[in-house]
């Protein structure tokens, strides 16, 4: 099903999204990869605040290329989400409900998604030039020393995503493959 949604990703909105939905997302998202997640989780462990308000937030697992003159951002497709599995339950526990990436997640992440009504969106891996077109503004907000891995605040318009795992734990990676194979029998 094709849907157009506007962030923030409230619990109510999250529950309307189902695995396999094609979703065009508009609103503010935050970028972070392994190194940024490690720092954020260490900050939380020390009782410190995050560089952004995690309530109903969506995090895009991306390390963009540098912007050419005149560009908002360079190419910006998703990185492999599994590397953030160690940190994702902690991020969801403080309210960060949405994740954008690509690739499989561990059962403990899916359990946390069910507990906190999380949603895992897939962006097309390798389509960095196309996805950059949806990013209308980009602002560096923390961890500048991490370069491509620094934490950025983005505003996106009609970003083309697919719900891979929904808040009930339904998983497109399993269901899509099974449905395709069943159609060939």
């Amino acid at each position: 099903m094709e849907k157009h949604i506007t962030l923030p990703l409230t619990e109510e909105l999250a529950k309307t999204l189902k695995a396999g939905d094609s979703v065009y997302v508009t609103g503010t998202i935050y970028t972070s990869r392994d190194a940024g997640h490690k720092r954020m989780c260490e900050a939380l462990a020390r009782g410190e605040e995050l560089p952004f308000d995690p309530t109903d937030a969506t995090i895009y697992y991306v390390g963009p290329t540098p912007a050419k003159p005149g560009q908002v951002i360079g190419s910006a497709g998703p990185t492999t989400s599994g590397r953030m599995d160690a940190y994702a339950p902690t991020m969801m526990s403080v309210g960060a409900r949405g994740m954008i990436g690509k690739g499989a997640r561990l059962p403990e992440v899916i359990d946390a998604m069910k507990k906190y009504s999380g949603v895992y969106f897939g962006a097309i891996g390798g389509a960095g030039a196309l996805l950059a077109k949806c990013i209308k503004s980009a602002e560096l907000i923390a961890y500048e020393d991490l370069g491509a891995e620094a934490l950025r605040k983005l505003y996106v318009e009609d970003m083309p995503l697919v719900v891979i795992i929904d808040s009930e734990g339904n998983n497109l990676y399993e269901e899509g493959k099974a449905a395709y194979l069943a159609s060939k029998k």
Partner: protein, 280 residues
């Protein structure tokens, strides 16, 4: 003896780093389009359309196809009648990578130490391979390699008794394990034979070969066709969302090996399989 100044190699490496990251090779584009024409699953068609739109944007606007502009794998085939002058060859290649990744607005994705990490800030060092060949020319190939797919690669030292079936099962097992992680549709590079290290290098070289080419030995050429067909019956599909197009190409490279062994390495690449060559 022909003298070539290493500064010429720097210039070519710089250019190839930028061009390889912005323009997908024609054989890869062609394979993606052919797969789109044969794809009968709705969500898979949509993904392949966006993948085509993406490389067209990269082509027309000269921007990186993918944000993972990779580690710079550089292959030099140096003619034995060439005398390289003007400095250190490895440093000249690294300088080309440094300039290319800076001028091309490419991402710097290399850490200086594998355990303690720390970005080198200029995407060096290159992963450099040199080979001495007949002649008085230098062929330079740059293949930027992303790590979403590199991380899903595998190597196994088979007993000879495992035979052809062992290799076939290993290819399928590796692709199934990779699943959605390496940004399918994938290109699969298979290296069989040699030693532990040579098998891995063969697998990487298999990814540098045009995907519309075949192994010169009909036995392996047939195996390439058979395994690509089998992979495309797994149902993983583009991005792992389900569908026919799990891989757009599979190349096999082989070498003689020891009586006691049958090494097999599988190097996985994504649909952004980049490589560009130039001869000096």
């Amino acid at each position: 003896m022909r003298e070539i100044n290493v500064s010429q190699i720097t210039d070519v490496v710089e250019k190839l780093c930028i061009e390889a990251n912005q323009h997908l090779p024609e054989d890869v584009k062609c394979a993606i389009k052919n797969c789109r024409a044969c794809e009968d699953w709705d969500i898979a068609q949509g993904v392949l359309d966006k993948i085509i739109e993406n490389y067209e944007i990269a082509d027309s606007q000269c921007v990186p196809i993918c944000q993972d502009t990779g580690m710079a794998c550089v292959f030099l085939e140096i003619g034995q009648d060439v005398h390289l002058v003007g400095g250190n060859l490895s440093e000249a290649v690294d300088e080309g990578v440094r300039r290319g990744y800076d001028k091309g607005y490419l991402r710097k994705s290399v850490v200086g130490d594998p355990v303690r990490r720390g970005n080198t800030g200029d995407n060096t060092p290159a992963m450099l391979y040199t080979e001495i060949v007949p002649g008085d020319q230098v062929k330079i190939t740059v293949g930027p390699k992303g790590f979403g797919s590199e991380n899903m690669s595998a190597i196994r030292m088979f007993k000879p008794s495992a035979g052809l079936q062992g290799i076939k099962d290993f290819i399928i097992e590796t692709v199934e394990t990779a699943g959605p992680n390496p940004c399918p549709p994938m290109v699969v590079g298979v290296g069989i034979g040699g030693t532990f290290d040579k098998a891995a290098l063969l697998a990487k070289k298999a990814l540098m070969r045009p995907i519309d080419s075949s192994h010169p030995d009909p036995f392996y050429a047939d195996l390439e066709v058979e395994m690509l067909e089998k992979i495309n019956q797994l149902g993983i599909g583009p991005q792992g969302f389900g569908g026919k197009t799990t891989a757009i190409g599979l190349n096999i490279e082989t070498l003689p090996t020891h009586i006691a062994g049958m090494p097999c390495a599988i190097n996985i690449n994504c649909h952004v399989t980049r490589h560009k060559s130039e001869v000096i």
